[in-house]
Symmetry: C2
Subunit: 243 residues, 2 copies
């Protein structure tokens, strides 16, 4: 076994840094508007600045960070309008998915959706908020995945990851749980092969969620201690500068 090279060619580092920053984004630990400078991040993760640079630009290409030429990367500060647009896109995409699903719906798929609904109800009954939120989002993922089209799944994945970041800004504290009954109503409409009703119910469902959005607009605190945010993870190499 060769010792880990300390200075050169470690392709896994890219992914590690990428995942670390991405998770911080998805978990809402990075607040909107926070500046992500290259040099501090390089110190925190103990990797070269170029590596951070590459990851930051990659996240920018995925629209998860806002890149401004010569001015670096920031956590995007979505307008309420932006959030609405993402939600509308999700709504529109799901309408299309339902129209396609209604053509190839069968008992196997319905059974799988029913099983998921049962899981959701169980989690809701035992008051498991975290599980409820997770399963609630998973329902919509199940719908697209049922079509077996990676293109569509990826499109939804992008939307979800972006809205989940937004949720942490605008949603009132973690009460963003889709009512299980509405999910059930969608499945019921699919079972009846009533496409118009399925689309209408889905639409109503999304509008309910959108209606809960609140515009907090905390202009303050664009600065944030990055070292603290990424504290949980040990540095990839030993070079973490303590202060």
């Amino acid at each position: 076994m060769r010792a880990q090279r300390i200075g050169k060619a470690n392709p896994a580092e890219d992914e590690a840094v990428y995942q670390a920053i991405l998770r911080a984004l998805l978990e809402g630990k990075l607040k909107a508007g926070t500046k992500l400078a290259e040099t501090p991040l390089a110190s925190i993760f103990g990797v070269s600045r170029e590596r951070i640079r590459k990851v930051l630009h990659r996240l920018g290409a995925e629209r998860r960070l806002e890149m401004i030429p010569n001015r670096g990367a920031r956590v995007p500060r979505p307008t309420l309008e932006d959030v609405r647009r993402v939600y509308e896109a999700h709504r529109v995409l799901e309408a299309g998915v339902l129209s396609q699903l209604s053509l190839r719906i069968d008992e196997v798929l319905l059974a799988r959706l029913d099983a998921h609904l049962a899981e959701e109800r169980t989690a809701a009954q035992r008051g498991d908020r975290a599980a409820s939120v997770r399963l609630s989002g998973a329902f919509h993922v199940h719908l697209v995945d049922a079509l077996g089209n990676p293109e569509l799944s990826r499109m939804l994945g992008d939307l979800l990851s972006r809205s989940s970041v937004m949720v942490s800004v605008y949603e009132p504290a973690a009460q963003s749980i889709c009512a299980v009954d509405e999910h059930g109503a969608i499945v019921a409409a699919l079972r009846d092969r009533d496409l118009l009703r399925a689309i209408a119910v889905s639409r109503e469902h999304f509008l309910h969620v959108e209606g809960r959005l609140r515009l907090d607009e905390d202009e303050a605190a664009p600065t944030q201690d990055l070292a603290a945010v990424f504290a949980g993870r040990r540095p990839l190499r030993g070079k973490l500068r303590s202060a």
Copy 2:
């Protein structure tokens, strides 16, 4: 006016190289499977290898090139299955767009769509194949753009750019013109506010286009003279190595 800097910091070069390669891709001048090595491209465009590198990775992130670690960039060689998936995604997205459009359709929008249909018919009558193809694609863009949601427009744009590359591989020579009557039928269904019919017509329309796909599978000629492909454009700097 300052003379163009020859060695450093020219942000416009990124975009120029990007556009050049992208256009070559969209125009089908780069055949599927062609290897895009960094060093030759740097010579051809007369820029540093790092710049080519950045552009290639960007195109890879946009899924327009296939990037393999340590092995460089290739023009993707989509399977017929891949093409079908992109077409299906387009179909599904348009169904969703129609369902949203049917809720906010008005005379202004209908008039605009009618105008576009008239343009299409005119081009078809005078046998202008190029204009027909362009307008035919533009119709679907008009539909999403009518919703005024940049997210959705971008999603469609991605799909279109990818399928247009694919078309150059699988479509029988340039006869990929949507029948204008089918576009007209979609608008007519929208005018009647008959969502189910609009979705059905749109679906049929896409299936017609998909049905014309042919699998040529010319395994040969993965190599191609890159200098010839980009010959039309003068090098950005004077360093083009003649041979």
